[in-house]
């Protein structure tokens, strides 16, 4: 034990001077030094970014706000040669045309119907997307059945005037469907009641839908050729989501099915649609759909791209849903089967509620893509927002150099607000779902 002796004898006699306090470890200056100027490379980067911002942001702000023309009734306001200012954006053009951008050429006295459609859409979307909303199952019924029927009646005017012969045909069809269900129940030796309820339910849903469409509510008919602007953009997107979600689920189940032909048909459809650009699908719907139908049936020009986008979105939706189905642990399937549930019961009661919940972010992302893709219907001549801007841009009453750029800036702003909002929502849901998984 001689360590104490071996140690050099040194005991400090004087207090050492305290080190200088750290050079601002907190506060804005320290933050700037830490995050922007922490080294020569970082300093150069920061300066380069500052220069880029200096080059881009002030001119942009100047163009969009400071030099912009906010009021005016025709091109004179936005042309230098007629005393206006043409250095900035011509927002007066947007204000002047805003009704055209929202409703297209929809009959002016009937535009309240479009407003109701927007309100119904907002209710449906809020009901489905707000995770704490009451009775979200009713919300689904509303969004996938009541809302489409109401919208159809509101927007077109309803009053399809199907005629007595049609209803006679429908009665025969209804009797056949119910008889088919009763027959199936009879040969399968199951009880008759559920079969009759199911058959009757299908008949009732179709019948009520047709009856509503048939009734004359006294609304004037507005042909689809007059529809336009944001109305059509939202309509294409809505039809896309209303059709693609159920159809996508069916396709996803088909792709995961054990039956080889069902699986193959689903895979071929999904991979084919995902392998080609949307614009080719739209052109196909536009040119080939009339060919495939009997000559005396004409397909509405707005309906063709609606079918195209809906089918296109379904394939992408199917892949998202498949991801959710694959993420379900096998125990869930086995548990459901051990309880004696059959395939439809297992899917609707156990698997899909869980699987769909975890793919909500994916569904919303697909929907963002669909929403952006609705702009492509402009290429096949449908007057959506982009097309109405295209049409207004060349209006001689508003011929000014800044009109084009202002119009597209408006379109960009519109799409950005919607898509950015949806992406924030999907991020929020993702965080919420992840919170449940944390231990």
């Amino acid at each position: 034990m001689s360590t104490a002796v071996d140690m050099p004898r040194f005991v400090r006699a004087k207090q050492v001077d305290a080190l200088p306090p750290p050079n601002l470890a907190r506060g804005p200056i320290a933050w700037v030094r830490e995050n922007l100027f922490s080294g020569p490379f970082n300093t150069i980067l920061t300066l380069v970014v500052f220069y880029l911002l200096y080059v881009t942001v002030p001119p942009l702000v100047k163009f969009l706000f400071i030099d912009a023309v906010w009021s005016g009734s025709d091109r004179a306001a936005c042309r230098a040669d007629s005393g206006g200012s043409e250095a900035g954006a011509c927002w007066a053009f947007i204000f002047d045309k805003i009704n055209y951008f929202i409703y297209g050429s929809y009959t002016i006295s009937e535009r309240w119907r479009v407003n109701i459609f927007f309100a119904l859409l907002a209710i449906g979307v809020a009901w489905l997307l707000w995770l704490k909303a009451p009775r979200r199952d009713l919300g689904a019924v509303y969004f996938f059945w009541i809302f489409p029927v109401l919208s159809y009646i509101l927007l077109t005017g309803g009053n399809a005037d199907l005629g007595a012969r049609f209803w006679l045909g429908f009665a025969i069809f209804a009797a056949l469907v119910i008889a088919l269900f009763a027959f199936a129940a009879a040969i399968l030796k199951t009880s008759m009641r559920p079969a009759l309820i199911m058959g009757g339910g299908i008949v009732a849903v179709i019948g009520i839908t047709l009856a509503l469409v048939d009734i004359d509510f006294g609304l004037a008919h507005v042909p689809t050729s007059l529809w336009g602007g944001i109305l059509v953009t939202l309509l294409v997107a809505t039809v896309g989501i209303v059709v693609s979600l159920p159809f996508g689920i069916v396709l996803a189940l088909g792709r995961r099915s054990k039956l080889p032909i069902v699986r193959m048909a689903s895979v071929i459809f999904i991979e084919f649609v995902r392998g080609v650009p949307l614009i080719t699908v739209l052109i196909m719907a536009n040119t080939m759909l009339p060919l495939f139908l009997p000559g005396d049936i004409t397909v509405d020009r707005l309906l063709r791209p609606l079918i195209g986008t809906a089918l296109f979105a379904s394939a992408y939706m199917a892949e998202v849903v498949r991801g959710g189905l694959q993420a379900m642990p096998k125990g869930q399937y086995e548990g459901a089967m051990s309880l004696g549930l059959n395939y439809p019961q297992m899917m609707t009661l156990i698997i899909l509620p869980q699987a769909l919940r975890i793919v909500i972010p994916g569904i919303v992302n697909t929907f963002i893509g669909l929403f952006k893709d609705t702009s492509l219907v402009a290429i096949v001549g449908i007057f959506d927002l982009v097309k109405t801007i295209e049409a207004s841009r060349i209006d001689p009453a508003w011929a000014a150099p800044t009109i084009g750029i202002t119009g597209y800036a408006f379109a960009a702003l519109f799409y950005f607000v919607f898509c950015f909002g949806m992406s924030r929502y999907s991020l929020g849901v993702e965080r919420r779902l992840a919170a449940g998984q944390k231990r």
Binding site: N35, M288, T374, V386, A412, C419, S423
Partner: protein, 400 residues
Amino acid sequence: MQTVVSQTSPPQKSFLYDPKVRGIFYQVVLVAAIVFLFYVAATNAIENLQRAKIASGFGFLNNTAGFDISQTLIQFSAAGGTYGDAFIVGLLNTLLVSVIGIFFTTILGFTIGIARLSKNWMVAKVAMVYVEVLRNIPLLVQLLFWYIAVLGTLPQPRNSLEMGAGFYLNSRGLFMAKPLYASDAWVLLAALVIGLVGTFVYRHWARKQQEQTGRQYPVGKVTLALVLGLPILTWIVLALVGANPISFELPRKGTFNLTGGMQILPEFVALLLGLVTYTAAFIAEVVRAGILAVSKGQSEAAGSLGLTPGQTLRLVVIPQAMRVIVPPLTSQYLNLTKNSSLAVAIGYPDLVQVFMGTVLNQTGQAIEVVVITMGVYLTISLLTSFIMNVYNRRVAIVER
């Protein structure tokens, strides 16, 4: 209470409850429905085509097209070109813009993706704003914006912007010097090929050496010297002996127009700009996710082994991140290729614009044209995913 379950013969089950029988039944119904659908469509189509007096079959590909295309990579004229030639012209234009677009968007996308993870607050935020803005605006609006709002403001040819070094910019596009290859230009090409082969051999040798002896050889510098240096040196030598393998034809400014030189269509520039900036935003997110997927312990372990930050990034982080990045990157490349079909909105003569637009309108043979066009995109899609799968298999984790 006695609950004796008597084990008698198994309950008589109807074969209708056999899952196999039911499966067959459902599939038969599905097949019948599909066949019926196709049958109805086909009979209607035949009837409609006969009524409209449209010939069917692919014979129209040999008919004279009779229209001009503004950008052709092969010889094509309105008088001599057939619809088949027009198809090839459109296809080549699609491939051209896709390949160049993929090249630039990869660079831009990786830069922005890495910038989003930068410790520099400013850089990260600017990159984030870029991604959010570009991702949330439809590509079509962006394309129209580039084409009409930006390139549409360019001056008339007579007031062309002179950018020096033979570059002119006006409303008809970007004009630049056109290289003219003399007969001895093959020497340069040969030098380039030798440089590439040499690089390949050298890298192989350097890796072998490192595995055996642990010594590292300067790979980057030698690559640069071989690939760039060798052709330049050859050029200088050729120039010294009096040969001139490549000369440049500069665009000349006339009274109304520029003549000579190489012209790049404004449509091409707008399409390329739109595709590159749009897809780069998506690639940036893919890259960011990939880098974040490499756990922090990996870079810490690399640091404790004494690797420099640069080496850590190059040898440890990127090879592992690539595994996560490649599959979604592939689908972004495919998206870019498919999105190039939006060219039709601004009039760049790609496959859809030329073939599904002009040819379809002139011949009316909707089914054939749609089938061919979709077939091309499907082939490109499947081919790309095949190649990328091969690559993916190479970089995937090799387990025992």
